[in-house]
């Protein structure tokens, strides 16, 4: 692949996009882990929603 005299600009554009998309994916994954961990800790302490107390198998 020959990117010509402006290869630096093309590579910088793709690298910037990759970094931003990677950061978005990391944010979503880490946030999901943080929220599920917090929910699990609360449930372990016996703090549950009313609907879950009435129906423990509800999603």
């Amino acid at each position: 692949m020959n990117l010509g005299p402006h290869a630096g600009f093309i590579l910088a554009a793709y690298a910037a996009a990759a970094v931003v998309v990677g950061a978005l994916i990391a944010w979503v994954v880490l946030d999901f882990r943080a929220q599920t961990r917090a929910l699990a800790e609360l449930e372990a302490r016996g703090v549950t929603r009313r609907s879950e107390r009435a129906n423990p198998n509800s999603p």
Binding site: M1, G4, F9, A16, A17, I25, W27, F32, L42, V47
Partner: protein, 263 residues
């Protein structure tokens, strides 16, 4: 809006909504639908991105005037489309919050803002890196570039508003109003290249008379646009799921604090 009040709103609001939307009014049902769909969407996104990048970088020819820098278009144009699509989606969600009081509307709006900001940032950075070798400058204060920069700042404003106002239901209303005001910018961005003299070129894909781009470059662009759209949908649904879980954590912590205070 807490989950409890959200469900209350759902009962009041669903009578006016189409069936498909009212089905999703229950956050638990939404989670049950989204969980199995997300891995498939992530897989489809990865496949589409791999195909699009292969087409854009290895298959598409260089432009006869712009040379290989035309490859930047496969990032710049899809992210520009998504930056506007995302604000349009947030505007519909804002109506859902203010008019129909749909319990997932403000969840959708809040989850979309950081993703929209990220795609607008990609659009601005890739455009700047494309502009330097083609125009001789990274930036110029023409109507298109300036209106997209304003869109980016509006995204940051919505994110800041959500972080500043502690009560989610008050934050939702304020963010919805700001989003609807910001929607005025969308036609300005779209038609800025027609209404004013700009260094930025006029529309070359979505225009009367058809695209002005050769199919050998247009096809990779469309594949990348599909891939970016799939990426957006996947990230948005995942961020909505996270936001619902965050509100559950908040509700449970409030319940825990209330119980501790009573004892």
């Amino acid at each position: 809006m807490t989950e409890g009040s959200g469900l209350h709103h759902a009962i009041a609001g669903t009578k006016k909504l189409p069936m498909a939307l009212s089905d999703l009014a229950n956050p638990s049902r939404f989670l049950a639908i989204v969980e199995p769909v997300l891995p498939w969407l992530a897989g489809a996104t990865a496949l589409a991105l791999a195909l699009g990048l292969n087409q854009a970088l290895l298959v598409a020819p260089d432009d006869y005037q712009q040379g290989a820098t035309v490859k930047i278009m496969s990032l710049h144009v899809p992210s520009a489309w998504l930056s506007m699509f995302c604000w349009g989606l947030m505007s519909v969600a804002a109506l859902g919050t203010l008019v129909w009081r749909h319990p997932l509307a403000d969840v959708a709006g809040k989850a979309a803002a950081p993703i929209g900001a990220a795609f607008t940032f990609i659009c601005l950075v890739t455009g700047s890196l494309w502009g330097r070798p083609m125009w001789g400058t990274y930036w110029v204060w023409d109507a298109r570039l300036t209106s997209v920069l304003i869109l980016f700042l509006m995204y940051l404003g919505v994110i800041a508003l959500w972080r500043t106002v502690e009560d989610p239901s008050r934050a939702a209303r304020a963010a919805a109003i700001l989003t609807l005001v910001g929607a005025i910018n969308l036609p300005i961005i779209k038609f800025s290249v027609d209404w004013w003299n700009t260094l930025h070129q006029p529309a070359s894909v979505l225009r009367l008379g058809g695209p002005t781009i050769h199919p050998s470059i247009l096809t990779p662009l469309f594949i990348m646009a599909i891939a970016f759209t799939l990426l957006f949908v996947t990230l948005h649904l995942a961020a909505m799921r996270n936001e619902i879980l965050r509100r559950r954590v908040r509700t449970l912590r409030l319940m825990q604090a209330q119980t501790a205070a009573e004892n």
